[in-house]
């Protein structure tokens, strides 16, 4: 659906995005992950025709985004990371204003406004002035605004930034609804664990380069070529460590209290052999599991920290 080829963006000498390539399929929820200043917002703005690329091509359904920006803008809904709202405008008027831009008139306009307010759970705030809404509500309203013209592609830049945990969960719920409605969504966030549940694919961007992209599982596997197992014993920790060290596929071992973490280079069969050896050796094993690396660890590993100025 969306295809980015060799995208470059320079601000003077600063290379904000360099040679970025990306393909996003219809119905996908693509998480765009990267430290601050990595080029996420720049890339998203170029997608929406709000910034001119230095070079490269972006096309939506094969149509060039820059050359046909007016048609493209009908298909894309954009929610920026920082945005303002007009004072002296009520919630319903705010949405009606954007609906009128897309030539939506009369009863349709009212219906769309009502439906969107219900979707983002702001039906009770119709007559409230926009500037008196809380931050989370404003963000939800802005999301509703980006949906006014029923776009196929949604570009959401940090939609959950600055939200309290409850508001974040609500936002996630709305995104899940949108996913069910068949929208293609590109979402950038620094709240990685939440993204991993929601996204069908992620791309990690660092210093303007796409350092890894693919499905969440693929990226996990690529980064964690070795598994980690974690086990807990009631006592006899030292004996357990001795048994584990007998196996060549157990490489590193860290233990503290009654917990042991070991990096493990083998399959399910090797894992079961280790477990039965421990149990047969009379070790009181409380738990034994393969550790799932989370996206946050992946992110830290791939981007090597946020040490830019």
């Amino acid at each position: 659906m969306l295809s980015i080829k060799g995208l470059n963006k320079k601000y003077g000498r600063f290379q904000a995005v360099s040679d970025l390539n990306l393909e996003i399929a219809e119905g996908e929820i693509f998480g765009f992950v990267g430290p601050n200043g990595a080029g996420k917002t720049t890339t998203m703005k170029i997608m929406c025709g709000l910034l001119k690329a230095t070079s490269g091509e972006i096309s939506l359904d094969g149509v060039d985004v820059i050359k046909h920006s007016k048609e493209i803008k009908e298909k894309i809904g954009y929610m920026p990371d920082f945005f303002g709202v007009y004072d002296d405008l009520k919630v319903s008027e705010y949405l009606e204003f954007y609906a009128s831009i897309y030539n939506i008139k009369g009863p349709d306009r009212k219906k769309i406004t009502d439906d969107l307010l219900e979707l983002v759970d702001l039906s009770g705030k119709r007559e409230t002035y926009v500037d008196s809404l809380s931050r989370g509500m404003k963000q939800r309203l802005c999301l509703a605004r980006s949906l006014v013209h029923n776009p196929r592609l949604l570009v959401l830049d940090e939609p959950a930034s600055g939200m309290d945990p409850r508001a974040r969960i609500e936002m996630k719920e709305i995104l899940r609804n949108l996913k069910d409605m068949g929208k293609t969504i590109i979402i950038s966030s620094h709240i990685l664990p939440e993204l991993s549940e929601l996204c069908t694919g992620i791309g990690i961007i660092d210093k303007g380069r796409m350092v890894a992209s693919g499905s969440v599982d693929e990226i996990m596997q690529r980064v964690y070529s070795k598994k980690v197992i974690k086990l807990k014993v009631r006592d006899r920790l030292d004996d357990a460590v001795l048994i584990l060290k007998e196996y060549p596929f157990i490489e590193k071992l860290v233990s503290d209290d009654n917990n042991i973490k070991a990096s493990f280079d083998g399959g399910d069969e090797e894992m079961s052999r280790v477990l039965s050896a421990l149990v047969n050796g009379g070790i009181p094993v409380v738990s034994f599991a393969q550790l799932n690396g989370n996206l946050e660890d992946v992110f830290m590993k791939v981007t090597k920290g946020d040490d830019r100025q």
């Binding site: 703005k45 929406c48 025709g49 709000l50 910034l51 001119k52 820059i66 920006s69 007016k70 803008k73 009908e74 894309i76 954009y78 920026p80 920082f82 945005f83 303002g84 709202v85 007009y86 004072d87 002296d88 405008l89 008027e93 204003f97 954007y98 009128s100 831009i101 897309y102 030539n103 802005c142 605004r145 013209h149």
Partner: protein, 295 residues
């Protein structure tokens, strides 16, 4: 009919609350005080027992001048924040990423602030109609004057919008708008006078074109014409006349109106280009042609 959505929203927001009513009240108060002052002086003259027909001309001129000055001061304040204010409030991107064309955003903003000025001008009509009591001024003259006001207000509004589109800060845009209006009103006179003085001494007999850009010259020319003062071209300074002094030249007020219209159109287009995020550079047309030739 499709009304520009930006215009509609702006009007709704601008007319909401006490601010709009407050501006109209303050504006009419100033004009009324001026009218009262003129009336008081005319009627309370102890040396005259009859009403001088010059009263209506005096009252009309007085009100016309005050209204003209007020427009020059109010319009920059209403327009200089139009685009930069959206940028400061971070709402500009939200409008730019819709299907709305940049020129529609610019014209919507311009018409919204012009309508507000128009409202002030129309609200002052009853005050102006006071001069009908004494005769000497007809509706035609008032309509001509109000037409001139509107063209001037739009031109000043376009200057405000242009700076607002170019600069990030509303304060800077406001300062530059007032500066440019001051330059048109006074700077052009200095330049014209020095130019004529240095190159021609006092022998310059034509109308110096730079004075067509001057709103004060245009306004004075309009009033002088309405009172039938055009005899002899009304030379004020070398190169500056209040009427078309030769067969070839047009009346300065008409020249000023034409200048204002062209100037406004140019500024509007430039503003629209300025806010378009994916605009092509001014020279890209030429580079494209070069590339095409190479290929």
């Amino acid at each position: 009919m499709n009304i520009n959505p930006v215009l509609l929203k702006e009007l709704k927001v601008r007319m909401r609350g006490w601010k709009a009513a407050g501006i109209i009240a303050a504006y009419l108060l100033i004009l009324s005080l001026v009218a009262l002052f003129i009336m008081y002086n005319a009627f309370m003259n102890p040396y005259s027992s009859t009403i001088d027909p010059q009263v209506s001309i005096g009252a009309y001129t007085g009100l016309a001048i005050i209204q003209f000055i007020l427009i020059m001061f109010i319009v920059p304040a209403l327009t200089a924040g139009a685009i930069s204010g959206e940028r400061e409030k971070q709402t500009l991107d939200l409008v730019l990423c819709t299907r709305l064309r940049p020129i529609s955003i610019i014209t919507g903003k311009l018409f919204a602030s012009t309508s507000q000025t128009l409202l002030l001008i129309i609200a002052s009509l009853p005050l102006f109609s006071m001069v009908f009591m004494f005769g000497g001024i007809s509706i035609k003259e008032i309509l001509q004057l109000f037409g001139f006001y509107i063209v001037t207000a739009v031109a000043v509004g376009c200057i405000g919008i242009f700076y607002s589109a170019c600069l990030r800060r509303t304060t800077a845009a406001t300062v530059l708008t007032y500066g440019t209006v001051a330059f048109l009103a006074f700077g052009t006179i200095f330049i014209g006078v020095f130019y004529v003085d240095i190159l021609y001494k006092a022998n310059y007999k034509d109308f110096l074109p730079i004075f067509y850009a001057n709103p004060i010259v245009g306004f004075s020319s309009l009033l002088a014409g309405q009172f039938g003062y055009y005899r002899g071209g009304m030379g004020i300074l070398p190169g500056l006349f209040l009427s078309g002094n030769t067969a070839k030249s047009i009346d300065p007020w008409l020249g000023n109106v034409i200048f204002d219209i062209v100037f406004s159109a140019v500024l509007l287009v430039l503003s629209a280009i300025r806010i378009n995020p994916v605009r092509r550079g001014i020279f890209s047309f030429f580079t494209l042609r070069k590339r095409a030739k190479k290929a």
